[in-house]
């Protein structure tokens, strides 16, 4: 699979800048990480609608909420742990409980935080955001998906959390992508097991499916980019293959595996294996190294799939 020519952060910033040309409600807030989020283009195009509020994430979320009461659609950026964990009560009360339309962009999810290490490496951001009623939780796979999602994020009246890998991801989609927030995308059909993946794990799931095919196991691959509201029908369809493997760059406690299991256990119980971080903190290291340490590589997906298949009745 080829690497994308564009970084996801660049695609988002450019699309946001263009949307803001037509939509005066859009404002951008950042807590002193503008250069990490490539939002300079927005600042240059709309200087009066870009607010670096300084290193104060709790206040940033409150300010965004206040702006939303005045009819603005604020996009509040920070690194994912500081955009969620650091200001959780502010998101919970000032944004979600208050029913305000604030979009939160958390960058560098999970092992993508690399050299910033354990303090900056959120394996729990989607779990805690998913626990907030009505919060939409979305993880784009590549630049194209981010672009296609943006107008829907703007149009949604609800608060949205975007768990954004910042840099060049594997290019999974081209312009023909038919994207709908909350609707999973089937990337590959299969009969023996379904791999449900998100973010950087989509590429690994696709690679794993090829390896499994060479061993005679037919694996379907589904991109569950929206963890909440989760696509219940997609989980039901996955269950028809008789086994599921979830693949996430996130703690399996409260993450994608949990979200899928919540549906499957109620609607369509089948064996589920979860590839993800198993109750660990982060640390410094390259993505590839950390992926081995935390067992979220393609090989880990393959062995989880075999185990899931072996558990089928």
């Amino acid at each position: 699979m080829t690497t994308d020519e564009r970084e996801i952060r660049q695609a988002l910033a450019k699309a946001l800048t263009e949307l803001a040309d037509k939509d005066e409600r859009i404002v951008v807030l950042d807590a002193d990480l503008m250069s990490c989020h490539a939002t300079k283009c927005f600042k240059e195009a709309h200087p009066d609608r870009f607010f670096n509020v300084g290193i104060a994430e709790q206040n940033m979320i409150g300010v965004a909420a206040g702006m939303a009461t005045m009819g603005k659609i604020p996009f509040a950026y920070s690194f994912a742990p500081f955009a969620t964990r650091r200001c959780y009560d502010q998101i919970f009360i000032s944004v979600a409980y208050s029913g305000l339309n604030v979009k939160i962009i958390g960058s560098e999810p999970g092992v993508a935080a690399e050299a910033n290490g354990g303090t900056h490496m959120p394996f729990e951001d989607m779990a805690i955001m998913r626990a907030i009623p009505k919060m939409i939780c979305f993880e784009p796979t590549d630049a194209t998906m981010m672009e296609k999602a943006l107008p829907q994020i703007v149009d949604s009246k609800s608060a949205v959390y975007v768990r954004m890998f910042r840099k060049k991801a594997a290019k999974v989609y081209d312009e023909t992508l038919d994207f709908k927030l909350g609707k999973a995308i089937e990337l590959k059909e299969g009969n023996d097991v379904t791999l449900i993946a998100s973010g950087i794990m989509v590429e690994r799931a696709l690679d794993a499916a090829e390896l499994l095919a060479s061993e005679g196991i037919s694996a379907a691959v589904v991109n569950m980019h929206t963890w909440k509201p989760i696509d219940v029908e997609a989980v039901k369809k996955a269950a028809k293959t008789g086994a599921i493997v979830t693949c996430e760059n996130h703690n399996i406690y409260g993450g994608l595996g949990s979200a899928v299991a919540e549906v499957a256990s109620r609607e369509c119980p089948v064996p589920i294996q979860m590839v993800g971080i198993n109750d660990e903190f982060g640390q410094v290291g390259k993505n590839a190294y950390l992926s081995e340490v935390y067992h979220i590589t393609t090989a880990d997906v393959v062995s989880a799939a075999k185990k899931a298949v072996s558990m089928k009745k």
Binding site: Q58, N59, M67, K72, I93
Partner: protein
Amino acid sequence: MDVSQSQSLAVKARQLRDDVIQTIGTFGVGHIGGAMSVMDALTVIYYSKANIDPKNPRKQDRDRIVMSKGHAGPAMYAVLADLGYFPKEWLSTLNKNGTNLPSHCDMNKTPGIDMTAGSLGQGLSAAVGMAMAAKLDKNPATIYCFIGDGEAQEGQIWEASMLAGSRKLDNLIVLLDYNKMQLDGKVSDINDIYPVVDKWKAFGFFVQDIDGHDLDAISAAIDNAKGSGKANMIILNTVKGKGASFAESAANCHSMTITEDMWRKETGRFEG
């Protein structure tokens, strides 16, 4: 403010205090202390300063009034009911099942409430965001925000104050209900916020330090604040429980039980 206006506001503040005492008394328990201490400033703002329209509670150019110390909800409800935002009968539903009037202010339940509050420190950030958005839109709204002195122990108050001061948000008027008491006792014993004037001056605010129960002083301070060119802080030196004798005399009246006998005796309302 002329003498007759001042006198009529004093009458109004007394009536509103009685409404709060009756409201909390009807439920039986509640945050009486901090609702009483802000009532004079609330009365001046709502009845002589604010650009508001109870018939059009969401009009875009209205002044916003954020009660960041959200537990003073009953004070807001007494005012909003009196102004006709909702029927006065609602006051007797405070905190009862299915009510539109919860302990802490909720913008999605109560007409006239501009911001949800209850988790302390958060309302001020929202007020700062409102003031910034108003400036962006050239909206003439003034943003009023009440904070508590205990609330000023929250770090978020200082994050928000730093931004408001640094951006010279002169359309923001913060009012500190400086009654010197918090839930567990004296602010000065627990985690002192003194010196408040110097603190907010250091954060770039135009600070006025007044008697929070002097209606003329409150009125003048608000007039002075407009046009200060800075974010504004009005320190309201207040008495917790002011105007409810059983609360004023209590060792701590942050939240207390109020019996029917107590509220009827205090308000002189023996009918109905």
